[in-house]
Symmetry: C2
Subunit: 298 residues, 2 copies
Amino acid sequence: MQATETDFQAWMGGVQARMEAALARLLPQAQIAPARLHAAMRYATLEGGKRVRPLLAFAAGEVAKASAERLEIAAAAVELIHAYSLVHDDLPCMDDDVLRRGKPTAHVEFGEATALLAGDALQSLAFQLLAEHRLADDPRAQLEMVKTLAAAAGSRGMAGGQQIDLEATGTALGVPALEFMHIHKTGALIRAAVALGAACGRLEESERQALDRYAKAVGLAFQVVDDILDVTGTAQAMGKAGGRDVALGKATYPGFAGLAKAKTRARTLVGRALAELEPVERADDLREIARWVVERDR
Amino acid sequence: MQATETDFQAWMGGVQARMEAALARLLPQAQIAPARLHAAMRYATLEGGKRVRPLLAFAAGEVAKASAERLEIAAAAVELIHAYSLVHDDLPCMDDDVLRRGKPTAHVEFGEATALLAGDALQSLAFQLLAEHRLADDPRAQLEMVKTLAAAAGSRGMAGGQQIDLEATGTALGVPALEFMHIHKTGALIRAAVALGAACGRLEESERQALDRYAKAVGLAFQVVDDILDVTGTAQAMGKAGGRDVALGKATYPGFAGLAKAKTRARTLVGRALAELEPVERADDLREIARWVVERDR
């Protein structure tokens, strides 16, 4: 266990470093016109975050024996969608956040209009990457990857989840409605990360379905833990102001069920995710990610 | 000429009606959750506009002998990108417009947050459509279509043009810099409309290049005429407040060169566009569109 954990830390650090380099290379350079827009896109994406979605894509890619060259493009596309959603989510008309990953948010640094356009352009770039690199042996499978990411990002995925969140703010939401929101808001993109990582290689249909069920459970666990950390975490550890959910009148899991029940729910979900992986080979890093999701403190 | 013009009006009306039906079918229905988001997406896209980009896609498709079934999907994808850009462009942090196509803008009708998300989700839907329908015989060519639209929408296309516009507002821009902005802000998506329409069928490389040069010239002519109409058009004919460019301190063609020179420039560009089509067969509707672009009064 000790050895496995150390291995996992090293693997995670390796993927994170690789992704940082890939994103720095794939984003337009800051000196290319329009320079301020490109600077904002890079600011919103680089040097930030745990890269949970890329980690999941790479770990799913191991199951499917995908090449790292393909995985870093697919993972970058998913991460750009995530980065754009954070920029727009932080805008004054949404959550009005001023701090993200320990830095001023994009609109504080670059102004609202540039932040809006940077988010828009990050979304476009995600689809450009998925289309312009060879990511699957069969181009039809690659079109399927574009469709998967677009559906996950859209009105019945992530953007839809943000809308549900918007409408739920300040209202008394039940646990099923709350989980419905999370399944869209963060779950859809996490599932897409796993699906795209797997699509860079080859999988049996039964394995593909097991990975998708794993991703659903991990995605929800991740969000429950995020809600918990918003209550218990310090601003320093989180890199953003704590207690924001409560201050914004947001529906959260601990808000209804209390901290103890929320923690139990997260552990149950991770148990379910691990059970899905039982028949799957080369899934050690997927398992470690699931465990890490509930144990992390930021 | 009389007969041709009447034919063209009928053709245009036919494409516009077909596109309205296609968009109504391809957009998520307003009763599907999240209903308010879907209502906003439909509001921002349906019953509006001249559908210049779909018209160009269909006319380019005629040259390439593409099927109407493919063309309406490709044209819808381009139109969704256009619709999203208008929603975001109208937001208070951008142009702060309250009227569009004779109706309150999306954020006036649905609130800023929902309008922001509706724009985001329209962009995702555009790429979903391009990936989930069969639009080209070779799936590699279809991936190329995704790449073309993504690049046209992104930081070195439309979004980049909006950033240049943002930075130019209130400053003294020369004509070359103004045209550089237009080439990105509206030109990139107009070129993509022609390219995607052509890609639904088959073209010689020389024809493809001629159509692209045509699209470049028509795109710029279209924007010069838009600037002219902002000065000379009535709010009633335009469906939006006139004189907005001047009020916002925007760089415009008539603003530098005067109305007469602006009109001459538009006619010169259309002449260039028509010259490009000389060796191209089945290009009558492309020709008529070019003429219509300079003659329209709204």
